[in-house]
């Protein structure tokens, strides 16, 4: 069923793009390369990225911000595989119509491809690669996602404001989970708090009762969860069943409607930061969400929103980098100068030196089965 809607949406979009192309057959074409996992284990993410990128480019071409120029996106499927990522990077580098590349999804593939782009001097903007080393490859790498180095201390600060002094951390045992736990702990101890215990669990763990009992012994004021929604849902249900009442804070990775569906009432009161709020009343977010629903008949999430912003940031850099005359160098320089870009995932500025993005984050709390924004001054 979903698939039919999806196909329908895509067909509508394609005919839209074709119509635009028909009307402006003589336009100069500027291309964006987009590498993402369109098949394989992470295909659901690649699909979100493609939807959002197509939407952003169609809107851009309709807006006639660059008269006489038509932008098109060339998608390549990296299958979530670093080797494929490198091959695509070579292909995109050889394609002279491409002035900038978006992708890949994971840090691993983005870094592998990034090494090629560093040599061939193609600006690369990843919507999701959050590994600290990614932007350190060369001056040609950018990302539209805040790393845990920003989010951890941000949440720690929020926890500290609630008066909590002793925190327990539960994190998934992988690169991301470790950095999330570490960054939160740094921020929290810097604010004068104490981390009473940090518990890592193996991916795939579904029974957290032993960990919860171990944490309960330490009597923490709050518990910080660096998990994904599947683990998070099971954890929330089990912690409430074991009667542990400590307030819960989570990483933005838990910002999924599915978490509330799975955990039900156990999710109530969970607090987490996010850069994308589906129910936001801010006009550009509302516009994006409505258009996305209309085109694809499904809800966008924060991953889709990050791809939408990444595409728009690159389109903006193409305009500022000379439009029809934009080169890879001019697009890179325009990207590096991105300042106060008003996206659907908050206002983005790239640091001119480190190229790390800063974004405004929103605080959410689960109330009556909904993620509700918290006024930023009080918890």
């Amino acid at each position: 069923m979903n698939n039919i809607w999806f196909q329908g949406g895509r067909a509508a979009l394609l005919s839209l793009a074709l119509a635009a192309g028909w009307a402006a057959a003589a336009d100069k074409v500027v291309s964006i390369g987009y590498q993402a996992p369109l098949t394989g284990e992470y295909a659901q993410y690649g699909t979100l990225f493609r939807n959002s990128a197509n939407q952003a480019v169609a809107e851009f071409n309709q807006s006639h911000r660059l008269p006489g120029v038509r932008v098109e996106v060339k998608f390549e499927d990296s299958k979530g595989d670093a080797k494929e990522g490198v091959n695509i990077a070579r292909k995109f580098s050889d394609d002279r119509s491409i002035v900038g590349v978006i992708g890949d999804f994971s840090s691993t593939v983005s870094i592998a491809a990034g090494k090629v782009y560093a040599e061939t001097h193609v600006p690369q903007l990843s919507q999701t690669a959050s590994h600290p080393d990614f932007v350190k490859i060369s001056p040609w790498q950018f990302r539209n996602i805040t790393t845990m180095a920003y989010e951890g201390p941000y949440t720690a600060n929020w926890v500290h404001d609630t008066g909590a002094k002793r925190a327990a951390i539960v994190a998934i045992q992988n690169d991301w989970g470790q950095s999330a736990a570490q960054e939160f702990a740094h921020g929290f101890t810097a604010d004068g708090g104490q981390v009473v215990t940090t518990e890592f669990f193996n991916p795939g763990t579904r029974d957290f009762r032993a960990i919860i009992t171990k944490i309960a012994r330490q009597k923490p004021d709050v518990i910080y969860l660096a998990q994904f929604y599947e683990d998070g849902a099971a954890f929330l249900q089990q912690i409430r069943q074991l009667g542990v009442k400590a307030p819960l804070f989570g990483a933005s990775s838990l910002d999924e409607q599915k978490l509330i569906q799975l955990a039900g009432p156990a999710a109530e009161g969970l607090r987490l930061p996010t850069s994308f709020d589906l129910n936001s009343q801010v006009p550009n977010v509302k516009h994006y969400v409505e258009q996305y629903r209309a085109l694809y008949h499904t809800e966008p999430n924060q991953f889709a929103a990050q791809a939408y912003d990444a595409t728009n940031i690159l389109l903006d850099a193409i305009v500022k980098g000379g439009g029809a005359g934009a080169t890879r160098q001019s697009v890179r320089d325009a990207l590096a100068a991105t300042k106060d870009f008003p996206g659907v995932t908050g206002i983005t500025t790239f640091d001119p030196v480190t190229r790390e993005p800063t974004k405004s984050q929103t605080r959410l709390v689960v109330q009556n089965g909904q993620f509700v924004p918290v006024a930023s001054t009080k918890a």
């Binding site: 045992q173 518990e199 890592f200 669990f201 193996n202 795939g204 763990t205 579904r206 029974d207 009762r209 032993a210 960990i211 009992t213 171990k214 309960a216 012994r217 599947e230 849902a233 099971a234 249900q237 089990q238 409430r240 069943q241 074991l242 009667g243 599915k258 569906q261 799975l262 955990a263 039900g264 009432p265």
Partner: protein, 304 residues
Amino acid sequence: MFDAFFFQQVINGLSQGLVYALMAIGFTLIFGVLNVVNFAHGELYMLGAFAGLLVIQAFAPPLFVVLLLVVAVGLVSGVLLERIAFRPLRRFADEASLKSKAIREATLLSSLAISIVVRELVSNLFGSNMQTIPQQYLLMTPITLGPLTFASGQFVIFGFALAMLLALQWFLFYTRSGLSVRAVASNLTGALHVGIDIQRTIVLTFMLGAALGAVSGFLVGLYTGNIFPAMGFGAGIKAFVAMVMGGLNSIPGAIVCALILGLSESIATEYIPQGWADLISYGLLLLTLLFFPNGIFGGRRERV
């Protein structure tokens, strides 16, 4: 000194052990009779959970009725599994082919193939994400006794495991069908020669094992709040470890070893990071195989 947290950990461990035990019972039953590993047991477990969930979503009947329907799905899938993955490879009833290693390995692979096909089919139909379970069916209602907290599911699973064990022992030792199951397990050719309907007995074993697997998957799904297509794999590995430790063919042995596994994992979490707790189970398996090559409860001639 009474340490409530430690006792809570013991409770967590015993209930985790019961979860492993539930699955190990059906696994061991089929192994004991046929001497083949049924790699599709984890998928029977998953199918039971999905069948239960579909029934709940469609009619929302009382839990007891759902259980009966899950049992029915389990029985039917046991028959189908035997028909598709085991019977075609057991064509000859003569002694040589029944004892042939090639047949044993072929069924091992065919059951593995079935398990992959079933898991992928279910992922394609329902998606590989976790399924939402209606709150009122979750077996997670807290029950507090002083400083200790139990979940309703722990009692349900304990009661079910105990009932299964007793019923199975009664069936195997006091009924005519049970006697023939034990006869086939003990000596297939001998059973053939005294006129036991081997085909019927094997199908019966599969039906029982599969129904046990299906109900366990459903109950554990409600207790942990996790129903998803790959759920059988992790549980299957622990059940397999319990079965090997228990001696491959002793049902009480598998249950005791499953409890030891769950208990040692949860108590180990008190002292070492939880990520290392799996190491404890595999370490125990290794020690068992080094010092009791036939398993702690194995080594007797009669299987089951």
